[in-house]
Amino acid sequence: MSTINVLGLVLLVLMLIVGGRQGWLSFLSLLVNFGLFFLALILVDFHVPPLAVTLGLSVCILAVTIFMGTNDLEVARAAFFAAFVIFICLLSLVLVVEHFAQVPGFANEDSGELEGMSVLIGINYAKVATMVTLLSVLGAIAEAAMAIATGVFAMMRSDATQSITSLLNGGFTIGQQIIGTTLNTLFFGFFGGLLALLVWFVGLDYSLGTIINNRIFVAELITVLISFIGVVLTVPSATLLCVYHFHKHLDKHEEKQ
């Protein structure tokens, strides 16, 4: 058996032991996300416009991550809408930033790997870059939206008469609690994979000016910063959407009575 299969099996067994049913669902969501990711690759390979693929599959990935990540349907619904709103905001931000930064595809540092390959593949790499940035941000905004929604719903259920201001404050307090560790999750997630590139930069004595204009480095940093911005903006948007959903629910309840 290959290493990847064995590691996957170990992960599955551990998740079942630790999480039981929830663990099984989480493992399933990993598999489905992996499948969706592969589907994205196939679709782009068949020349479906990358931005359309991004939009369609991002909705699926957000839904899978959020709805399979929690048992609480109300929380999941609010979190999903909040994450989707933020996703649309980020989409426009990424389009603007990529227009100015122009960091698609590869750079001189990749030339070793690209040897013997045809790079004229007829797919716009600028759009692929936008897609990559947005795909890597999805998990982070889904996770943040769930954390905020869980907290805010707990507050509203314990005391349904709270004012919107106090709920907003509560949402921001939760945001303050999670922001430090969430940013570091993203930072290590991204820079864990960039270690080799950083060794290259330091080893070959790149100047600061070269690094901050380098195509790959700027592309990665843009992704990191966009995901930071996404997580921060999720805090108010998730709180507001939770309050909205909760009040709509309450109103319906009152009408029935």
């Binding site: 004229l120 593949i121 998990g139 996770e143 080893g203």
Partner: protein, 375 residues
């Protein structure tokens, strides 16, 4: 607006201050050519001179264009001179790019002959857009989340500095102790980050111990599995930008990649169990352990998904190129995605193991302190 100034004077002034600083920084980086040693040119006019259809051996259809640019040199010896640049680019733009009027880029090979100056443009000046985004992220953090946001940003900056420091130590030792250096770095990272985020207290100490334990245990499991399966299906030659032994570098990447997520999970569990203990002073080991497991179970799935998407997205561009070069799906997976897959699985194992570990640890410690209070 004036209303907001009256109700939240501090916040309004802070926003104004950030806005002014941001504008100043962006203006500065737009005019910082004098700081660069490489000559920088601004594109004045653009004319497309040719357009050819290209079909490669895999039947990919693309277009190759040539642009004739007039560029004004902005700094250095040739400052103020107008140079001619021929730029070849493709519609897909994997390695090249087209230039627009007003953009600035780095010039090289500036020559003078009887037709005037000529040069080639390689690469855009991207510092302004980077500074803009940096400013946007920092402002959002500080304005929306206050000091917690500022501390979070500070911890990220510190960690970035630490990584660079560790890399230069690693290079000075000629990459002879990569795993040792980055293991030490992981310990320092954990301590610095949790101190900044949580402060110096029992909560941080517990989170630190659990984080490090789970990270190293998961790395251990990963190494054992690799050894037992003879690393079948792991292709180190597919690793990008490698300048030293790829295997040890990859181990360091596994170590660092999951560190943040495990810290995240530990701090969630610790915060919840401490809160439970505060509300219910008499909670025993079993109840505390259960509460910890409950939180851990619910956060582990989303956290693994965060890392999975990050690791996979980074392989996307490469995988697409392999596919379009007529490679099979299997070969494409091996060459562009297998390392990312191993990394996400290793991170996942660390995140899952951490749940019972931190729950046991914290339940044991809090139960103990309770008994001493009762005695």
């Amino acid at each position: 607006m004036t209303q907001f100034f009256k109700t939240h004077p501090k916040k309004a002034w802070l926003a104004l201050f950030l806005l002014v600083v941001g504008l100043a920084l962006i203006l500065f980086t737009a005019h910082d050519q004098f700081l660069y040693r490489q000559p920088i040119g601004r594109v004045l006019t653009v004319k497309e001179t040719s357009r050819h259809k290209r079909t490669d051996e895999f039947k990919n259809v693309d277009y190759q264009m040539t642009q004739k640019l007039t560029v004004k040199v902005m700094n250095g010896r040739y400052k103020g001179k107008i140079v001619q640049v021929h730029n070849r680019y493709s519609a897909s733009g994997a390695l090249d790019q087209h230039y627009r009027v007003g953009q600035e880029g780095f010039l090289s090979q500036i020559n003078h002959d009887r037709h005037g100056y000529s040069a080639s443009l390689n690469g855009l000046k991207r510092d302004t857009i980077l500074v803009f985004l940096l400013w946007l992220a920092l402002s959002a953090l500080i304005l929306l989340l206050g000091s917690a946001g500022a501390r979070a940003a500070l911890s990220v900056v510190l960690n970035f500095g630490l990584i660079l420091g560790a890399i230069s130590v690693n290079l000075r030792l000629q990459a002879s102790h990569v795993v040792l250096i980055f293991s030490l770095l992981a310990v320092i990272f954990t301590i610095v980050t949790l101190l900044l985020v949580f402060g110096a207290n029992l909560q941080s100490l517990l989170a630190m111990v659990a984080t490090l334990l789970s990270t190293f245990v998961s790395l251990g499991i990963c190494l054992v599995v690799m050894a037992l399966t003879n690393q079948k299906g792991i292709y180190y030659e597919s690793m990008q930008y490698v300048t030293q032994n790829p295997r040890t570098l990859f181990i360091a990447e596994i170590l660092l990649g999951s560190l943040g997520a495990v810290m995240d999970e530990s701090s969630d569990v610790v915060a919840t169990v401490f809160e439970l203990k505060r509300v219910d002073q008499r909670a025993g080991f079993k109840k505390l352990f259960k509460a910890g497991m409950q939180v851990g179970k619910s956060v582990m799935g989303p956290l693994i998904n965060v890392l999975l998407l990050i690791f996979f997205a980074s392989t996307f561009t490469c995988a697409l190129l392999y596919l379009k070069n007529g490679n099979s799906w299997g070969y494409t997976f091996d060459m562009s995605m297998c390392l990312g897959m191993v990394q996400s699985l290793a991170a996942g194992i660390g995140i899952v193991i951490n749940v019972p570990l931190i729950s046991t640890l914290i339940a044991y410690v809090l139960k103990g302190s309770d008994e001493s209070v009762n005695d």
